[in-house]
Amino acid sequence: MARETEDPGMAKASKVKRQRKKKTKENKTRTVHANLLYDNAKGEENPNRHYANNKIKTTKYTVLSFLPKNLFEQFHRFANVYFVFIALLNFVPVVNAFQPELALAPVVFILSVTAIKDLWEDYRRHRSDKEINHMDCLVYSRAERSYVEKYWKEVRVGDFIRLRCNEILPADVLLLSSSDPDRLCHIETATLDGETNLKQRQVVRSFFDLDCDFDPIKYNSIIECEKPNNDLNRFRGYIIHRSGRRDALYKENLLLRGCTIRNTEEAVGIVIYAGHETKAMLNNNGPRYKRSKLERQMNVDVFWCVIILLVMCLFAAVGHGLWMFQYGDKRPVFDVLSPDGTDLSPIMSAIYLFLTMIIVFQVLIPISLFVSIEIVKICQVYFIHQDMELYDEETDSHLQCRALNITEDLGQMQYIFSDKTGTLTENKMVFRRCTVAGVEYSHDANARRLAMYQEMDSEEEECTSHGGTLPRRDSVTSHQTPWSVRLTFTHFSYSVLSADKPSSDLQEKDITPDPQLLDKVNECSSQMDFMRFHSQPMSQLPSDLADVIDFFIALTICNTVVVSSPNQPRQKVQLTSTKSIQSNHLQVNKGSSSSLITNRSSNKGCSSMLSSPSAESTLTKLDEEQPPRDLEHNFGPVLPCYDGKAWNLEEGELRYEAESPDEAALVYAARAYKCSLVGRLPDQVTMELPHLGKLNFELLHTLGFDSTRKRMSVVVRHPLTDQITVYTKGADSVIMDLIKPPDTGSSKGKRQKKIVNRTQNYLNLYAADGLRTLCIAKKIMSKEQYACWLQHHLEAETAIQGREELLFESALRLETNLQLLGATGIEDRLQDGVPETIASLRKAGLQIWVLTGDKQETAVNIAYACKLLDPEEEILTLNEACALFNFTTFEIYPSSSPSSSSSSHTPPFMVHRLGLVIDGRTLAYALDKSLEDKFLAVARSCRSVLCCRSTPLQKSMVVKLVRNKLKVMTLAIGDGANDVSMIQVADVGVGISGQEGMQAVMASDFALPRFRYLQKLLLVHGHWCYSRLANMILYFFYKNAMFVALIFWYQFYCGFSGSAMIDQWYLIFFNLMFSAFPQLITGTLDKDVSAETLQQLPQLYVNGQNSEEYKPYMFWMNMIDAFYQSLVCFFIPYFAYADSDVDLFTWGTPFTTLALFTILVHLGIETKTWTWMNWLSIAFSIALFFTVALCYNASCPTCYSPSNPYWTMQRLLQDPLFYLLCVITPVAALLPRYFYRACQGTLFPSPVQVGRQLDKLPAETCRNILSLSRVKVGSPLSPKPPFLSLAKPSPKGCNIKDQRSFPSSRASIV
C-alpha cells in the first residue's frame, strides 16, 4: 500500500511536468488524474486544479459588480446614452432647461426599472444555482475510505462518485464501474435532449472485466480527452494505464450531467468535466435576441424623430438669434444677462439655445417607448403561454416562447418553410406493408383497422387524453429535484405513450399480421425446429422461407431498441446471460427499483487487475475454435417458458424503447409475427421465435445509424447456423447500391435479380402511397473475413485523429455485397389538422414550402395528403434526370411547359396552379449564384414548392435565399436536428417539441407541441401582437410629438427663449407616469378582431403581412395629426387667456390637463375593445394626474423653482374657465380623427374592420355569412376587397402581393 501511494507520488511530479508541457504545446486535450492521489497535497500540486469545479454560477452579477456591470450593459443601448447625455447637459448652467436633478429622473427611472428586472432575474438564477449546488452526491473520500455525502459544488474533476439508481448526475462522469452484470448503466437524457428512451452507457473497456467492487484507491490511470465542448454526441479520448496501455474512450463511456441513472443500482465513475465545463451547461444557451421587422421600422421612425427634433431646435435657435438681434444693443429688462453679467451675442445665445431646446424637446424621442415595448412584449409572451388552445394535453406541454422580443413578427410572416417528418407528420411510425423476397404482403387488415381507429380516436380523445404521462411520472416524481425541474423542457415519453394510450398508439403495437406471411413464418420456424431437432444444417431450408425468417430476424435485432417492462417503467428486463447458465432463469424483475437483482456469477474471482479489453477477447474467442455452445444450452432454459401462458402474458407487457420511432415500428411488426425481441445486452440479443423459442444472438458489432450512411448494421453470430451474419437495414437508395450484383448465370442469381427488381417495383409503389421505405438485407461472412474486418475496425476505433472517417470507411467495407431480403413500408401519419392548417395558412396569404430530406415520391404524396399540392395543379418537377441540363431547363421553362406558355395570355392566377417539386441535387444547381434568381422566379410563380432530398445545409440556403432576395419575412418550422440550421436562418424559427429530441426546440424562437398550433399562433397571436404593437408604437410617436409641439408653439410667444409653460415636473413625468398605463393596457389587451373570426377568416392575416397597421406614411399622418392636435390644444387656451392677467404656470397647468385628456381620448378612439382594465387604467391615469398635481401644488410654497406652483391647481379647479377648456379642446382636437375613422368605417372599411363587424354578429348569423358564396364587404362604392372572395377560395385567395409581383417574376423568366 505504501508503495502504491509513493509510486504515484513520484509519477505525479513527472506527470505534472508533462502536462504542463502539453498545456503550453497544445491545448487540445485535457488530462484528468484521480484526485485521491493528491488529496493530501495542497491545491497547488493537484494537476486538476485548472479545471472548473462543479459549482455553477449562472448569475451575471455579484453584489459588488451589479451596479457597474449592469449600467455598462445598459449603456450599450444607444437610447440610454442619448438620454444620459441630455440629462448631463442639464448640469451645464448656460444651457440647462430643468433642474438638473429632476432631469435625471427619467433616465434614472428607466435605468432602474431595467436594473430591477435584471436583478430579479439574476436573483432567481442565483437561487436555483444555490439549490443545485447544494444537492448531495456520494464522493469517495480518501480519509474515510468510503463514499461520503458532499454537495454538488464540492465535486471536483478527478473525484470518484458513486451514483445510485434514479440519481441525477452532478457532472460529466466517465463510467468506471456498474453494478449491472453487463457493465452497463442506463441513463435518461430527457433533460438534455428531450429524448426519453433510455440510453445505455458502458463501463470503460479496461474496467469491463473487473468483477469485484471498483476500488478507487487502486485506480491510477490517466485520462486524456478533448477539451470541454458542447457536442452531446461526441466524446473522444483515451485512458492510459500504468502499464502504458491505452484504451479509447467513447461517448458510450460518458455519463452526462443532468441525466438520470436508471435501471442500474450503482455506478462509479470519475469526474471528467465539472460545473460550467459539462456538456449540459455548455449547451445551455440563454434566450435569443432578434430584432423584429416592426422594430426595425420603428427605428427608422425614431431616426425621423431625431431629425424633426433637430429641425425644431434649429428653428428655435435661429428664431432666438433673430429675436435677440432685433433688440440690438438696447438690452431689454427681461433679457437677463448671463450670470457673470456679460452680454451674450445673439449667435452665442442661439447656439446655447439649440442645446437647451434639445433638452426641452427630448420627450420627442420617446424614452419610455423602449421600456414600454419590452413590458408589452413580456405580457404578450405571457398570454401566448397561457393560451389553452396551444396546450397539448397529451404531452403536457404548451407553446414556449424562447425568443421574447419577436412576437409581432409572427403576424407578418410571408413564407413558411416546413420540414415534413415530425412536423407535418406525427413521426409515429406504423408498419403498413412489407415485401419479402419479392413477394408483397399488403396487410389489408391493418389498413382497415387503421381506419377504424381513426374513428375511435376522435371519440375517445377526451377520456384518454390525460392518462399519457402519469404512470411514468409516478416513478419520477420523488426524484423531481430542482435540477430536473429546471432542465426539463417537455416530458415527452414516446414509449410510455405507446404503452398507455389506447387510441392512436395502439396502432403501432397492434399490427394484424398478414395471414399469408404469418403462415410462412410458422412453416419456416417449424421446419427449422424440426431441422434443429434432427441436427440438419440450416442451409437446406428453402431459400424463400429462409429469407422470410431472416427478414424477421433482421427486423427484430437490427436496431438499438431497449426492452423494458411497463410495470416498472424503467426497469430493464433482466435476462439470462451466457456467463451464468446455471442461474439461467428468466427473471422479470418485479421488485422495487432499489432491489435490483444482481445475478452476478460468483465463480469469478475478484480481480483487481485490469482485464484485457473485451474487443481483444472477442478476437481471441473467434480464434479459438470454440465448439458451438451446444444448442441445448442455448435454448434449454427458455423452452419451458415458451408454451406457458404466463410467458405470453409477460411478453405482452414488454415494451420497446427506440431511438427512432420507425425502429420501434419494425420491432412491433416483427412481434406481430411472433418474432419478438426479448432482451438486449451489449454483446447479445435475445429474440423469440415461434416453435424455436428463445434464440440468443451473439452481438459482435453494431454500426449505428447515421444520416450520411443512411443505414445501420448489426453483426451477429447466428445461433442456428453459427455463421457470422450481417443484417443491414437502410434507405432503399443506399441499400440497392450495395446489393451484391447477382451473377446471372446461376438460378440463384436469377432469382436474386428478380427479387431485386420486384422489390424495387414495390418500393416505388410504397413511396407512391406515401410510405417510408426501408430495405432489409443481409450478408454472411466467413470468420476470416470478419476477423480481418474487425482488425481494421478496431484500429479505426482507437484512432483519435480522423476517427470518423476511418469508421465510415470501415463501415463501408462491411456493408457491401449484401443480399436483399425485402423491404418495409412504414406509414408516417399526418398530424391532426395538418391539411386544415395548411389550407388556412395559405388562405392567409402565406407561401408554404416544404423542405424535406425524404425521397420525392414520399414527399409528393405527403404533400397531396396535406393539401399542399392540389390534384388540379400542374406539377413542375425538377429532378436528377434534368439536373445536368438544369441550366437549360430554366431557360426553356416558359416555352416548354404547356401551362406557362398559355399563362402569358391567361390571368395570373393560372400560374398559381403550378406546383414545383425539386430534389436535392437539382436544388444544388438551383442554389448556384447564377441560377438562384431564375429559380426564385420560377418558385415564386408556383403555388407550392416542395424540395425533397435536401440536406440541412440546403434547407438553410433556401431559406436564406428567399429571405434575402425576396425581402420577405420567413418562418421555418421543423422538429429535428436537421432543421436546426434552417430554423436559425429564418426570421422566426419554430421548433416542434416532438419525437426527435429537443435540438430543434433549442434552436428555435418558439416551440410548439404540434404543427396545427401554428395556425393559432400566427393567425391569432401573431395578428394580435403585431397590431397591438404597431398601434402602440404609432401612438407613442403621436403622443410625444403632440406634447412636445405644445412647447414648440409656445416658443413663438416667449422670444424662442426655451421657456416652457408646462411645469418641468409635469413635463418629465407626463410620459413616465400620467399617460403610461392606458397605452400599456391597450398594447397588451386590445383585440381588433376576435380569435374565432381571425381563424375563420385567415385572409385577415394579410393585414400584418402588408404591414397595414404601420405603414411608413402612417408615421407622418400621425405626426401631422399630432401637430394639428397640438395646435388646437395650444391656441384654444392661448386665445382664451389672451391679454389676461394669467401667470405663466397657471396658464401652463391646463395644458398638461388638456394634453392628457386629448391623448387619452385619442387612445380611446384607437382602442377596439374596452375591458374593465382599460376603463380602470384611464381613470387611474386621470386620478393620478390630479392627485399628484394637487399634492405637488400644496407641498411647498418656496420650492420647485422656477415654477413654484404653490396652490395653482387648487385655484384652477375653482375656475370655470378651466373646465370649459377641458371640454372643448379635446373635442376640437380629435374631431378630424374621429370623423375620419367613422367615414373610413363606412366608406372604405379595412378587412380587419369587416372582421370586427362579423365578430359582433351572433354566431349563427356569422356562420351563415361566412358560408355565403360571397360576403359583401365594404360599400358598393368601394372596390370589392379581393380578400373575401370566398366563392372561389383557392386561386384568388392567394396573396394579393404575389399577384402583383407576378409580372416581374414572369418577366424574369422570359
Binding site: 398570454f383 416667449c1054 426655451g1058 392661448y1134 405663466l1144 370649459l1220
Partner: protein
C-alpha cells in the same frame, strides 16, 4: 347603435391532477388556467366606428356646445371694458415727452395725464389693470431669476440669495433684496384716476390696493424677514433699478410693505404671454344705487417711471368689470359655437353617408 358584446365569462375549468391513476404525488399539470383574463376573453365593449354608430355623438356634441357657446358669448359681452394706451409713442400723446426722455437712470419722476371718457357706466366692482405688450416676462432666464426662499422671509436666503438671481444677486458687495431680474424690473408707474364731474372738478376715485394678489401668495409664499422691516433688511441692497428699498414700497401700510407688498407680489407672478395685464387696483362698488364708475369724463394721471420704448413695448391702463368666467373674452363663446356647429354639420354629413352607403351594415347589424 354602438353595439355591445359581452362575452360570457367562463368558469374556471382548471384541470386538476386528480384524474391520475392513483398517483402518489399530485402531478402538476402545465395546463394553463382557463380564466377569462388569461385566455384574453375578458368581457369587453367593442365599439365599431362607422357613420351610423358615431353620428349621434356628433349631434349630441353639437347640441350641447352651441347653447354653451351662446351663453359664454353673452356673458362675455356683458362685461364692460375700457382700455387706454399711455405709452406715448405718438407726439399727440400727453406722455410722449415722458416716454422720450425717460430711462431707468432718471431720478426725477415725470408725470403726465390722459383724459378719457367712459361711454357707459361701470356697475359693480371695477378692476383696474395695467397692461404691457411686447414684454417677455416669460423669457426662460427671466422666469428663473428669483429666489423664493428669500421672498418667503428666509434669513439665510436674504443674506445669501440663490445663484439663480445672477447677475442681480449682489450689488456693491451686498446681497440684493429682493434679488433677481423679475424684482429688478418691477413695474413702478403710479396710476391715479380722477372723475371729472359736471362741474369740471377732479374727484379722486378711491383705489383699493389690497386684495389684488392671490391669498396664498400674500399669506404663505411671501413673508417679510422680520417685523421691523428697516432692521430686517439691514445689510441688503435694493435692486439696481429701484429708487427706494423694498421696505419703503408702501410705508403707509405695514401690512403692504416689504415683500408682502401686493403690487410687488402681482409683479412677481410672471405673465404667460408677452402681452399681458396685471391687476393694479380695485375700485369698489359704493352702493347699489350709483354705478361704480358712472359714464363721463375721467383723467388718468401717470407718474411715468417705467421705460418700455427701448424694446418697443406698450403700456396700457384697463378698466374692466368681471363675470364668473373672468374678464372680457368672447373667444371661448365663439369657439364653442363654432365647434358645436362643425359637429352638427359633420353629423349631417355622416347622416348622408350613412343613408347612402351604410345599408349593408344595417342588414348585417340586424341582431344587435
Amino acid at each position: 347603435m354602438m353595439a355591445t358584446s359581452y362575452n360570457a365569462k367562463e368558469e374556471d375549468g382548471h384541470h386538476s391532477g386528480a384524474s391520475s391513476h392513483g398517483a402518489a404525488g399530485v402531478v402538476k399539470s402545465k395546463k394553463p388556467d382557463n380564466t377569462a383574463f388569461k385566455q384574453q376573453r375578458l368581457p369587453a365593449w367593442q365599439p365599431i366606428l362607422t357613420a351610423g354608430t358615431v353620428l349621434p355623438a356628433f349631434f349630441v356634441i353639437g347640441l350641447i356646445f352651441i347653447p354653451i357657446g351662446i351663453g359664454l358669448y353673452v356673458s362675455s359681452n356683458n362685461i364692460k371694458e375700457f382700455e387706454i394706451d399711455y405709452t406715448g409713442v405718438d407726439i399727440s400723446n400727453p406722455c410722449y415727452s415722458c416716454a422720450k426722455n425717460f430711462s431707468w437712470n432718471s431720478t426725477t419722476p415725470c408725470v403726465c395725464s390722459m383724459n378719457f371718457t367712459l361711454e357707459q357706466p361701470f356697475e359693480s366692482n371695477v378692476f383696474m389693470y395695467y397692461g404691457l405688450s411686447n414684454f417677455y416676462q416669460n423669457h426662460r432666464r427671466y422666469v428663473k431669476s428669483r429666489d423664493d426662499s428669500q421672498l418667503n422671509g428666509d434669513q439665510s436666503a436674504l443674506k445669501n440669495p440663490s445663484k439663480e438671481c445672477e447677475p442681480y444677486r449682489t450689488s456693491d458687495g451686498l446681497p440684493i433684496a429682493p434679488c433677481g431680474a423679475i424684482a429688478n424690473s418691477l413695474f413702478n408707474d403710479t396710476l391715479e384716476l380722477y372723475h371729472i364731474d359736471s362741474n369740471n372738478t377732479r374727484n379722486t376715485i378711491p383705489l383699493v390696493k389690497k386684495g389684488i394678489a392671490w391669498w396664498t401668495d400674500k399669506h404663505v409664499k411671501f413673508r417679510n424677514p422680520g417685523e421691523n422691516l428697516t432692521a430686517a433688511f439691514q445689510g441688503t441692497n435694493k435692486p439696481v433699478n429701484w429708487r427706494k428699498p423694498v421696505y419703503e414700497l408702501d410705508p403707509s401700510d405695514p401690512d403692504n410693505n416689504g415683500f408682502i407688498n401686493e403690487d410687488f407680489i402681482v409683479w412677481m407672478r410672471t405673465a404667460a404671454l408677452p402681452t399681458f395685464r396685471k391687476l393694479y387696483r380695485i375700485i369698489q362698488k359704493k352702493s347699489n344705487t350709483t354705478p361704480t364708475l358712472p359714464s363721463g369724463k375721467y383723467v388718468l394721471e401717470i407718474t411715468y417711471n417705467y421705460p418700455v420704448l427701448s424694446f418697443d413695448g406698450r403700456k396700457r391702463m384697463i378698466l374692466s368689470t368681471i363675470s364668473w368666467m373672468g374678464g372680457k373674452n368672447p373667444f371661448l363663446g365663439i369657439a364653442y359655437i363654432t365647434v358645436g356647429s362643425i359637429c352638427f354639420f359633420l353629423g349631417v354629413v355622416l347622416l348622408i353617408i350613412h343613408h347612402k352607403y351604410d345599408t349593408r351594415s344595417n342588414s348585417a347589424d340586424i341582431p344587435n
